[in-house]
């Protein structure tokens, strides 16, 4: 398989995952806003922070109000992290790899592009239309993932799709936890705070589609420390970091010359498995997650060096 095509397919998968994850995150944030007591304003800032968009947003906008932030994150073509920009990048990568993928995949990716083009202009201002659009985007992404899962033969092509998907997913899960952990600390105190803390942790789970599964896997009040463990170290739920890393390991094993990225991954898995994450201070948690994210970036670098941009 040509390195160039492998790289395009890898990025296609990353951008698709980023699109879906962003749509879910925005949708979940809109949900929780409705449950917050009136004295507790929704922080639009935290959304920007999770997505690493605070700086670019400040450069173009003043106040952080709901509509402007949503427009920025959903449909601003000039902001490279917006859903619109991710879809555009996914489509460009799909266009050059059309022959490599089932026809249905290209059609579904085109469908995503048209969905956004046709509906975004009128959907941002109205909350319910916007939520509809975000749900439709997530659903269309799932459809594409379904086609890729169901109709791409298991070889390097599929491994690069999965590699891109799980690396992006692990990154997004840690971003959400990083920001939410800081804002929800101190965790699980007493009184009303603990009640709202639980509501907020439920929203964290919802933004990762994890609430129902969490309920099945664990019982009792939703507590921060359990959520953290479930989403970082757990290996059962597909959006948990532990699960994603285990999948990445399988992908690498299916690819040639994987020594270097595989060694990096193993070290990362060891760090995650042995970490004690109970009652960490926000700073300590931030430092830990930062370490993980640097590990993801290094792993990405290894993949690029090994398969896409090696120097002969």
């Amino acid at each position: 398989m040509l390195s160039r095509l492998a790289e395009n397919i890898y990025w296609l998968a990353r951008y698709l995952e980023r699109t879906e994850d962003t749509a879910r995150l925005l949708l979940a944030s809109a949900q929780i806003q409705m449950d917050l007591p009136s004295g507790m304003p929704m922080s639009w800032h935290s959304l920007l922070e999770i997505l690493g968009a605070s700086e670019p947003y400040r450069a173009r906008h003043g106040s952080e109000n709901e509509r402007a932030v949503m427009r920025f994150l959903i449909s601003d073509p000039a902001y490279s992290g917006s859903i619109a920009a991710s879809v555009r990048s996914a489509r460009e990568n799909a266009r050059v790899t059309r022959d490599q993928l089932p026809r249905e995949a290209w059609e579904a990716i085109n469908g995503l592009h048209y969905l956004l083009q046709e509906q975004a202009p009128n959907a941002i201002a109205s909350r319910w239309r916007r939520n509809d659009l975000l749900a439709a985007i997530a659903a269309q992404c799932q459809r594409i993932q379904g086609v890729l899962h169901g109709s791409v033969s298991r070889g390097p092509r599929y491994q690069f799709i999965a590699l891109g998907r799980y690396l992006e997913r692990a990154d997004m899960t840690t971003r959400i936890l990083d920001v939410r952990y800081a804002s929800l600390f101190p965790m699980d105190g007493g009184g009303n705070d603990s009640y709202y803390s639980s509501v907020c942790w439920i929203s964290v789970l919802r933004s990762l589609s994890a609430y129902e599964m969490y309920r099945q896997d664990l019982h009792g009040l939703v507590r921060g420390r359990d959520v953290v463990h479930y989403l970082l170290q757990g290996e059962r739920f597909p959006r948990a970091v532990g699960f994603a890393l285990a999948r990445i390991r399988q992908c690498l094993e299916g690819l040639p010359n994987h020594q270097q990225p595989a060694a990096r991954l193993e070290a990362l898995q060891a760090v995650l498995a042995t970490a004690s994450l109970v009652d960490l201070s926000p700073d300590a948690m931030h430092e830990f997650i930062d370490g993980l994210q640097q590990g993801f970036a290094a792993l990405h670098g290894d993949v690029v060096q090994t398969y896409f941009r090696f120097t002969p």
Partner: protein, 497 residues
């Protein structure tokens, strides 16, 4: 039910399917009877079915317009152009003869230059041609062949004579549309293929692969690649289609690298893999920035070094375009006599060379009757069709010719033949040409028929898809086999796959 009420060819033109009295030509009777049996509505339905099929199959070409690249559906007309097998066999022999002579000429230009010394073609014409590449001198590609794929444009004049209009030896395109047109026809008119002896066209990708393999250095399983400029090229559909049909890798310049050993490699997820034959679909100018345009990002630095050493074969070979020049074209009949000692089977269109003072004077005096073409453009760009041009356009062209006579040739305006074509629900005559694709490697092959292009605008002679042209399926029909039971059947004819 309203019935479609017949077809009248234009006067003064040769029609490919009916003669002057409206009687079907040999091999066309069955088709015309069938079309007659369809109502206006049925014709429209089939037309729609053809369009839908083309969209569903994703057959497109790319046009650049309004600063954006757009994939357009391939314009297709479902009335086929029909050629009798006997005539086709003569054409085929003529095409082989022509390509054999052209390759002998190119090899001579870059080596002994005998033909130039003997004055068969004026030395200055060749050495000053934009497509003459001094960097290719002294190279002897396998089998002495430089142009492995040639798209030869044929047109028929009013008396029925088939002329060679031009030889496309650089990166001729269109063959994928020929193949896809047949698939579309089989889908929308399956009944026609039951009863006609229409010769199949599917052999081409396999023949192309054989031709390319025959160029490979001596290795057991040669790695063949198709080199494309990328998805924004107007012929990208074809590049990807042919690669797929041949089971070859479709690569861009940045996928390839020339090693210190001067072999060519492609970057794969397994590391570097050696490439033996490159079917390139980019122009010479962009092939190797070390040798040609230094700003080219489409090519591969060092490719020419690898090629000169015989480490990799390139089809068509760099420099092959020297014989694609329209001034050289005028000398092809002489080249056939000189190199092969044979009489040309297919005639050239009479050609005036503006570089010659007498010819130039004639051309400038008769601009209103002539077609003037630049010597080395393709795609129908930059030409003047005298009878259709305004006085202003003609005087502008006269200035161009005086300023750069070497760059222009002129030909009489041919009364190019027509073929029935569905226009607004009626069958009307539209002008057609024919581009067969001829292959030369260790042996010769040619497509069965070729790509028939049609000028969809009434009266227009320009068939290029970039300028409002469409295309048709081309049938080579075995009328001898049509004679009934007992007729000779050598196993190569018959309708289905």
């Amino acid at each position: 039910m309203q019935q479609w009420n017949g077809y009248r060819p234009g006067t003064g033109y040769y029609d490919e399917l009916v003669d002057g009295s409206g009687t079907p030509r040999p091999g066309c009777q069955h088709l015309l009877e069938y079309l007659k049996s369809l109502s206006v509505q049925e014709l429209a339905d089939r037309h729609q079915a053809a369009d839908a099929t083309i969209r569903a199959m994703g057959i497109t070409f790319t046009v650049y317009s309004d600063g954006e690249n757009i994939d357009r559906a391939w314009p297709f007309d479902f009335v086929p152009r029909i050629i009798e097998r006997r005539e086709w066999e003569t054409i085929q022999a003529g095409l082989f003869q022509r390509l054999r002579a052209l390759n002998a000429f190119i090899d001579d230009v870059y080596n002994d230059q005998r033909a130039l010394r003997d004055g068969v073609v004026p030395e200055s014409v060749v050495l000053k041609s934009r497509d003459f590449r001094p960097q290719c001198q002294g190279v002897s590609p396998p089998h002495g062949v430089w142009a492995h794929v040639c798209g030869t444009d044929l047109v028929r004049d009013k008396d029925g004579t088939l002329y060679v209009l031009e030889d496309n030896l650089r990166v001729p395109s269109g063959v994928s549309y020929m193949l896809e047109n047949r698939h579309v026809m089989k889908r929308i008119f399956p009944e026609l293929f039951e009863h006609s002896r229409i010769m199949p066209v599917d052999a081409y990708p396999g023949q192309l692969l054989d031709t390319l393999c025959s160029l490979a250095p001596d290795v057991p399983n040669p790695e063949i690649v198709v080199l494309t400029p990328g998805i924004y090229n107007s012929a990208y559909f074809e590049h990807s289609y042919l690669a797929q049909q041949m089971g070859a890798e479709l690569v861009e310049g940045r996928d390839l690298v020339v090693g210190e050993d001067e072999y060519v490699y492609m970057r794969t997820i397994h590391g570097l893999e050696r490439v033996d034959v490159i079917y390139r679909r980019i122009d010479d100018d962009f092939l190797d920035p070390e040798v040609f345009r230094p700003d080219s990002t489409l090519g591969v630095p060092g490719l020419m070094r690898a090629w000169r050493k015989g480490h990799v074969a390139i089809a068509n070979a760099p420099g092959a375009g020297v014989a694609d020049d329209k001034v050289v074209y005028a000398h092809v009949p002489a080249l056939i006599r000189y190199f092969l000692d044979e009489e040309p089977i297919l005639p050239n269109v009479p050609t005036y060379q503006c570089v010659d003072p007498d010819d130039r004077a004639y051309v400038l005096d008769h601009l209103a009757e002539l077609v003037v073409k630049p010597a080395n453009e393709s795609g129908g760009y930059g030409m003047l069709i005298g009878p259709a041009a305004t006085a202003d356009e003609r005087s502008q062209f006269a200035d161009l010719i005086r300023a750069n006579p070497r760059n222009y040739i002129a030909q009489p305006t041919l009364m190019i033949s027509t073929c029935p074509t569905l226009c607004d629900g009626e069958l009307e005559p539209r002008h057609v040409d024919l581009r067969p694709f001829v292959l030369q490697g260790k042996s010769f092959n040619v497509t069965t028929g070729g790509l028939s292009r049609v000028a969809l605008r009434k009266g227009s002679l320009v068939v290029n898809s970039s300028q409002g042209g469409g295309s048709k399926d081309t049938w080579v029909v075995d009328t001898a086999a049509d004679a009934g039971p007992g007729a000779v059947d050598d196993g190569t004819v018959g309708g289905a796959d």
